[in-house]
Symmetry: C2
Subunit: 326 residues, 2 copies
């Protein structure tokens, strides 16, 4: 474990414990089955980054009430709800190192449990009694569903542009990170400047985080990430490493990559070849550079804030978003 990760984990150890407790306490289903299906995904060891961001954002604004942990679960339940639907949509079979819920139970159960988790997050948000937090949730859910639909219908297309890619990851990831951070400011009753700074931090962190995720799909092993490498491509999803490599490649390199990328059942050898080309044609470097720009913008957004210890942790998290191996 590298020292950056160690430093973050030791600083947020108690926060993560509290979040974990609240995730179990607030699930609150009427039915045992819902508990099992939701729990299968929820308690398979996620990073809890989204609830943690809300907690840290609230602390940054001086809010130390323990109720923040309860409200922070909103963003993990919401995240889990979208994972349940997305795995089904993408045909993903492994999640957090375990078989995806729709393969353990069935597709209908996964759809309805996702709906339940979304409803649960809405209930908890309603309990906060802050109308602006409901606006945040509405914005997140509208963006996420449309981002996924857009990704679904770009599936298998080689024509996806860099701009279209940014729109997709903004909707499917950055808006949720942004909402978690903004909600931390809202629960703390922070002023508008503070709200906007934290929202900006969350947005850029989310962009960097998703780009790093898309990089890991070409640079890491299944052992590390709990996902099969190349999963995106197998699901017909073009991400920035490929989009950038294709657009920067000469004709010959382009044709080699195009052949691999457009065949749905590429071999392991094909995949290794593609990775080489992504490196040689600059797709990996370009993605890392763009993610790095968002890391910097996230950290810059924090500069207008005070120097609370939570701000230092949030800076570390921004660095870690790109440095991580998992």
């Amino acid at each position: 474990m590298n020292s950056l990760k160690q430093r973050i984990l030791s600083a947020v150890k108690n926060d993560l414990l509290q979040i974990e407790k609240e995730l179990a306490a607030n699930l609150n289903p009427h039915l045992e089955l819902v508990k099992q299906v939701a729990g299968h995904l929820l308690f398979a060891g996620g990073k809890r980054l989204r609830p943690l961001l809300m907690v840290l954002a609230a602390k940054t604004c001086g809010y130390e009430e323990p109720s923040v942990y309860r409200y922070s679960t909103i963003f993990e339940y919401l995240h889990a709800a979208t994972l349940l639907h997305d795995d089904l949509v993408d045909g993903g079979s492994i999640r957090r190192g375990q078989p995806a819920a729709h393969t353990v139970w069935d597709a209908p159960t996964a759809v309805l449990t996702g709906d339940f988790l979304l409803a649960r997050s809405l209930s908890i948000a309603a309990g906060a009694g802050i109308p602006a937090m409901i606006d945040v949730m509405a914005n997140i859910t509208e963006n996420m569903s449309q981002g996924e639909i857009q990704q679904l219908h770009n599936r298998g297309s080689l024509d996806m542009t860099e701009t279209e890619y940014y729109t997709v990851i903004e909707r499917k990831t950055a808006v949720l990170f942004q909402g978690a951070c903004r909600s931390g400011a809202l629960i703390a009753g922070a002023d508008r400047n503070c709200q906007q700074a934290l929202a900006r931090y969350g947005y850029h962190l989310g962009m960097a985080f998703q780009m790093a995720d898309d990089l890991l799909d070409y640079t890491q092993t299944e052992q590390n990430t709990g996902k099969l490498p190349g999963a995106d491509l197998r699901e017909g999803k073009l991400t920035l490493p490929v989009i950038a490599a294709l657009s920067q490649a000469g004709e010959a390199d382009y044709q080699v990559m195009r052949r691999i990328v457009s065949s749905s059942g590429f071999s392991e050898q094909d995949f290794r070849t593609l990775i080489e080309y992504l490196h040689n044609c600059g797709g990996i470097d370009y993605t890392r550079q763009k993610a790095g720009e968002h890391v910097n913008m996230a950290k810059e957004a924090l500069h207008t804030l005070n120097t609370a210890p939570a701000v230092t942790i949030m800076e570390d998290i921004a660095d870690y978003a790109l440095a991580r191996k998992i």
Copy 2:
């Protein structure tokens, strides 16, 4: 068209026009595909009963602002969202006389469009700035998802009790009707008594409406309802006409019904036989009687209110819930 229906339709003609306008105006998707998929279901001629109930409830409380039409769309979008997910869960292939969305497009598109419609309804509700309305929505969505899961996992079971049936229809139908009526009172700023009376009306109307729906599946033709008769049974759903008939039948009759009900691929002749038995063993009458009790309780709930014209229409709607042929 019978005269009760005629009377209702002529009294709410303008309301329905306004609701229809707002449904088109507020859909507001970023993507053309979402518009098509959502529109396929939304504009295939639903009864618009849920938004209409909100409008009438608001009028009962003296609220005449045109913004009520915008807010009323919440309940049609929410309803459409659950139909998209439920048709997928149930494998239903026809909806409102048209092929279901998941058969025209695909399952993932139907799931995500449902998510979008839910998000849309949340956005509009957030815009009302009434926290209690968000509580209503959270309650509806939690109940509906769990009601569907419960129904899914009772599928094919002959052991479903009358009480379990009531729990399912309460969650999947009555809570939404109740929420639409309560929201009408909330938007009007009505007092607690008025809120509760309207919520009680909505609840009992919803129970009666769903029982009548479950009756129609055994008493009407596809031409009338736009759905294949016997669809519930084909999807493995036991409803009150069957539950009551099974529990009241003698051993010989029980065995005949049991054979038909437990075979997934029953013939048309089998289905006609079953309907005869449902009549002879009292399943149809019992369901009609129970639905009638809820119609009466719905109307009784209105007695504490004033004598606004909207109240008369709501009484007619309660009668029509059971009298209708479609």
